[in-house]
């Protein structure tokens, strides 16, 4: 699934990483628990989270995750965006709840890890 298709599906807006709209992701993972994210071994996944802080970005960086959706209408802070752009990560802001965001993407064919 292309990032630009994800934007349409979840009515998302790009807060960072405009240059990567043609990237493809195969799987999605939703969590607010950073240690959960750090146990994953899947590559090329999009992280859906309601936790919009700098730690989310650091955790994603360590876990080799480049694509992050901030659900629950969370907005990226300037510090978050500075770190994400330094890491060349894509940040998408989404107005919907975690449940709806995940449901829409799953319905559109984004795969689950387990």
């Amino acid at each position: 699934m292309r990032i630009k298709d994800i934007l349409t599906i979840i009515d998302g807006t790009v807060a960072c990483g405009n240059n990567r709209m043609n990237d493809e992701v195969e799987t999605g993972f939703a969590s607010d628990l950073m240690s959960d994210v750090l146990t994953l071994q899947t590559n090329n996944l999009v992280l859906i989270t309601g936790l919009a802080n700098v730690q989310t970005i650091r955790t994603a960086e360590v876990a080799d995750i480049s694509h992050i959706i901030l659900a629950r209408n969370k907005k990226a802070s300037p510090e978050l965006l500075a770190l994400a752009s330094e890491n060349n990560q894509v940040i998408i802001e989404c107005p919907y709840s975690m449940f709806k965001t995940c449901g829409l993407l799953y319905n559109a064919g984004l795969k689950a890890i387990y």
Partner: protein
């Protein structure tokens, strides 16, 4: 090659900074990406543990052609029962730490999974010492 970093307990703004630097160094050294991820995930869990549970600490990274050795030493409350602390789900994290997305009690077991050798030593009231070894052979 040898690198050292300082960690300040309680300061989440910089948590992960050292791990991120080490990741960059390992990339430059052309270590394979799967190994890099294992080393950096284990180090990051240890780094966040110092920020979340201790007062201050330091990280020593020693890179040799056949292995990477990471030592994380902190001054802090220490761990009374290491076996219990290793159990998935066991956590004494504060509400503030949980707000940052940590405190699932997964860190220590995740460090074990992502290293070839894990040694934890701790003295209650003094601090904790963690050694992570990853072999680079193959």
């Amino acid at each position: 090659m040898h690198f050292t970093y300082l960690i300040t307990g309680g300061n989440f703004t910089h948590a992960g900074h050292a791990s991120s630097q080490v990741k960059r160094i390992l990339k430059q050294l052309n270590v394979n990406p799967v190994t890099i991820k294992r080393i950096v995930v284990a180090l990051y869990e240890a780094e966040v543990n110092v920020v979340a549970h201790a007062y201050r600490g330091n990280i020593d990274v020693d890179i040799e052609p056949e292995r990477v050795l990471v030592l994380i030493t902190d001054e802090g409350p220490g761990i009374a029962d290491i076996e219990l602390a290793m159990k998935e789900g066991y956590s004494t994290a504060s509400p503030k730490v949980r707000e940052m997305g940590f405190g699932a009690g997964m860190g220590l077991s995740n460090m074990k999974k992502n290293s070839d050798k894990l040694i934890i030593q701790s003295q209650v009231g003094q601090g904790t010492h963690v050694e992570l070894t990853t072999f680079l052979t193959q």
